[in-house]
C-alpha cells in the first residue's frame, strides 16, 4: 500500500475560518474535523474533490496556485487550457478572440488539453483489448476519482486504467514539438495548466503512478477568467478581432469534458458514465460487490456535469455545458462538410506518445484500515462498536466529528473522547458526574475559546 502522503491543493486559512463545520458535514470521505474552533483536514482521507470549498461561507478554504508572473521565468510560455474554459464566456466572445487575449497576457503558445483525446482514446481501447481480464476498466481522467478509489475502494485500484491523462499527453506533446521546432532546452519551456478544480492541481503536483510532473505550473481557472474578462472589457464593444488560428480541436475532443464524452468514444460494450461524487460512491459500492455484472468501462467524474461543475469555473455549470456542446456541434458541422479535417494536430507524434502512455502501478492507500495487524484491528473494531452503541446516532456534529460513527472511530484512534458527545455530557451532568464548567471546557477545546466566550459576553 502507498504510504507517502498526498499533496493537497486545498488549504484552510486559520485566520478567517470561523469553525462553522459546514465543510465537515459535506465531506464525502469524512476528512474534516473541528478542533479549537477551526476546521482541520486529515490528509490521508482528503481526495481534493472540493465540496468543502463550495460550502465555506467565509472562503477560508482556498486553493494554492502558482504566481501568474512565474510564466515570465520562461522564454517560451505555454497555456494548456481545458475546453471548458471557453464555455465560461458568452457566445459572442469567440474562441479565437480569447486565444488573442491569452497571447496579449504573455503566453507564446496556447494548446487545448483535449487535443490529445484521439491518442488517449486509442491508447485506452488498446489497453482494454490487451487486458480482457480486467473489467470494469475505470477511467483515470478525473484525478479526484483516482484518489477516491485509492482511499475508499482499494480493491478497485487495479481496475484503474494506468495511462496518462489527456492533460499529461498534451503537455508531453507540446514540449517535444517546441523543443524540436525551436531547438530549445527543457528549462526554457514553461507549461502552465489552467485548472478547473483542486484535484487536477494535486494530480499535477504529485502525480499518481508518475515520478515527475510534466507541467511546470498551475493557474486557477477563476483567476485567469478575471484577467481575460478584464481585457475584454478594455477592448470595449466596438472591438474588431483579427482572426487568429485556433487549434483544430475535434468535436469529440470538445465533448470529452462533459459527462458521457468519454464513454461515447469507448469501444466497450457495456459502459456507464456517472458524475457527482455521491453518485459515484453509490455505484462503486455495487461494482465492488459484483452486484452489477457485465460492466466493461466506467467514466466517473467527481463533479456534477463533469468539468463544467469544477469548483474553479466561473459560470453556472449548465450554461457552460450548453456552450461547450454548442461549440462541439459547430465543429461537427464543419467536420461533416469537410471544412475541418478530423486529423488532429498530435497525429504526427502519435507513435511517440503511444510509447510513453503507461504510468506506474496505482496503489491502494486505504483510509479505512484501523491497524495493519488484523488482531489489533479487530480489537479496535469491537471497541468502536461499543462506543457506537452509546452514542445517539443523531450525527449532530457538536463533538467536532461529522457523524457518531466517526466519533466512535476517533475515540478508538485516540483523537477524541466519549465525553466530547453533548448527549453524554448532559447525562453525566444529570447524574452529578460532571459539572457545567467541565462540559463547557470540553466545548471550548472543540469549538475554541473565542466562540464560547463570545456567547457568554453576548448574554
Amino acid at each position: 500500500m502507498e504510504k507517502t502522503p498526498f499533496f493537497h491543493a486545498l488549504k484552510i486559512d486559520e485566520d478567517t475560518c470561523i469553525g462553522c463545520s459546514h465543510c465537515m458535514k459535506i465531506c464525502p470521505t469524512e476528512a474534516l474535523r473541528v478542533r479549537d474552533g477551526k476546521a482541520v483536514l486529515m490528509p490521508d482521507r482528503c481526495i481534493d474533490c472540493g465540496n468543502c470549498f463550495k460550502v465555506c461561507p467565509t472562503r477560508s478554504i482556498y486553493i494554492e496556485q502558482d504566481d501568474f508572473e512565474d510564466i515570465f521565468n520562461y522564454p517560451v510560455r505555454v497555456a494548456l487550457i481545458p475546453a471548458v474554459f471557453f464555455g465560461q464566456f458568452p457566445n459572442d466572445i469567440t474562441v479565437s478572440r480569447i486565444y488573442g487575449i491569452l497571447k496579449d497576457l504573455g503566453f507564446t503558445h496556447v494548446l487545448e488539453t483535449e487535443s490529445s483525446i484521439p491518442v488517449y482514446t486509442a491508447a485506452k481501447n488498446k489497453y482494454a483489448a490487451e487486458n480482457p481480464d480486467i473489467r470494469p476498466l475505470i477511467s483515470t481522467f478525473c484525478p479526484a476519482i483516482v484518489r477516491l478509489i485509492q482511499v475508499k475502494f482499494p480493491g478497485l485500484s487495479e481496475n484503474l486504467i494506468p495511462l496518462r491523462a489527456p492533460l499529461d499527453i498534451s503537455a508531453m506533446y507540446i514540449r517535444r514539438k517546441i523543443k524540436e521546432e525551436m531547438e530549445l532546452k527543457d528549462d526554457q519551456i514553461g507549461i502552465f495548466y489552467i485548472t478547473p478544480c483542486a484535484a487536477k492541481i494535486a494530480a499535477v503536483k504529485s502525480p499518481v503512478g508518475e515520478e515527475k510532473s510534466l507541467v511546470d505550473g498551475v493557474i486557477n481557472m477563476d483567476s485567469l477568467y478575471n484577467r481575460v474578462y478584464h481585457e475584454i472589457k478594455k477592448q470595449g464593444h466596438g472591438y474588431k478581432e483579427q482572426k487568429l488560428p485556433v487549434s483544430q480541436l475535434s468535436a469529440d475532443g470538445v465533448l470529452t469534458s462533459l459527462t458521457n464524452g468519454e464513454r461515447r468514444l469507448s469501444s466497450a460494450h457495456h459502459s456507464y458514465s456517472i458524475d457527482e461524487i455521491h453518485n459515484v460512491i453509490e455505484f462503486l459500492e455495487k461494482v465492488e460487490n459484483e452486484e452489477i455484472e457485465d460492466v466493461d468501462f466506467l467514466e466517473l467524474r467527481a463533479c456534477d456535469q463533469s468539468c463544467p461543475g469544477g469548483i474553479l469555473t466561473c459560470d453556472n455549470r449548465f450554461l457552460i455545458c450548453e456552450r461547450v456542446f454548442g461549440r462541439a456541434r459547430k465543429i461537427a458541422d464543419r467536420e461533416r462538410k469537410g471544412e475541418q479535417t478530423k486529423d488532429h494536430e498530435l497525429q504526427e507524434e502519435s507513435n511517440y506518445l503511444m510509447r510513453h502512455m503507461k504510468v506506474g502501478e496505482i496503489k491502494p492507500r486505504s483510509m479505512l484500515v484501523l491497524d495493519d495487524n488484523i488482531a489489533v484491528a479487530l480489537e479496535k473494531m469491537k471497541k468502536i462498536d461499543e462506543y457506537r452503541a452509546r452514542l445517539p446516532q443523531t450525527d449532530c456534529g457538536i463533538c467536532g466529528a461529522p457523524t457518531c460513527d466517526a466519533l466512535a472511530r476517533d475515540i478508538v484512534c485516540e483523537d477524541a473522547e466519549l465525553t466530547d458527545c453533548v448527549f453524554i455530557q448532559r447525562n453525566l451532568e444529570a447524574r452529578g458526574n460532571m459539572d457545567v464548567q467541565e462540559s463547557l471546557k470540553i466545548m471550548e477545546v472543540i469549538w475554541g475559546k473565542a466562540k464560547m466566550n463570545d456567547y457568554v459576553k453576548n448574554k
Binding site: 478497485l156 452486484e291 486505504s366 479505512l368 488484523i374 484491528a377 473494531m381
Partner: protein, 137 residues
C-alpha cells in the same frame, strides 16, 4: 467478532445489504482486497439464495484474526439433491425468479469457487444451512 443479519423472502430490494456491511467491516481490518472480494461474492450469492429460493433466514458472521466464518441458515423448501445443485446450470428456481435475473444455477458453484471451506446441509421441507469459511492468509 460476531455479526448477525436477517434476510426476508423475496426481498430483492435489500439483497446485498449483509454482504455490504461485512465488506465495510473487513476493509477496516486490513484484509486484502482480493480476499474481501471473494467473501463478498460468496456471501452475496448465499444471501440471494435465501431471499430467492427460501422463505428468508439469518446470516451469522464470525470474524477472527485469520479467517471469517459465515453461516446462512434459511427456512425453506430445502435442497433434495445437494450434489446436483452444486453443478453449474442446475437450478430449481421458479420462472418468476428467473425473470428477475436470478436462478441461473450458478449460485452454489460460484460460492464454492470463492471460499476455502464449504458445507451445505439441507432438510427438505425445513431449510438449508450454508457454512463457508475464507482464510485471510
Amino acid at each position: 467478532m460476531h455479526l448477525e443479519y436477517q434476510v426476508y423472502e423475496a426481498d430483492f430490494v435489500n439483497a446485498g445489504a449483509a454482504s455490504s456491511a461485512i465488506k465495510k467491516t473487513l476493509k477496516q481490518l486490513n484484509v486484502s482486497p482480493q480476499i474481501i472480494k471473494r467473501v463478498v461474492v460468496a456471501l452475496y450469492e448465499a444471501e440471494v439464495n435465501a431471499i430467492a429460493h427460501a422463505y428468508g433466514g439469518t446470516i451469522y458472521a464470525d470474524i477472527e484474526p485469520d479467517k471469517i466464518t459465515l453461516k446462512v441458515v434459511d427456512t425453506g423448501p430445502g435442497i433434495p439433491d445437494i450434489d446436483w445443485a452444486m453443478q453449474e446450470g442446475n437450478s430449481t428456481a421458479s420462472p418468476e425468479v428467473r425473470n428477475m435475473g436470478f436462478g441461473a444455477g450458478m449460485g452454489l458453484p460460484n460460492i464454492q469457487k470463492n471460499v476455502d471451506k464449504l458445507n451445505v446441509t439441507s432438510t427438505v421441507g425445513v431449510g438449508t444451512t450454508v457454512e463457508m469459511e475464507v482464510n485471510f492468509v
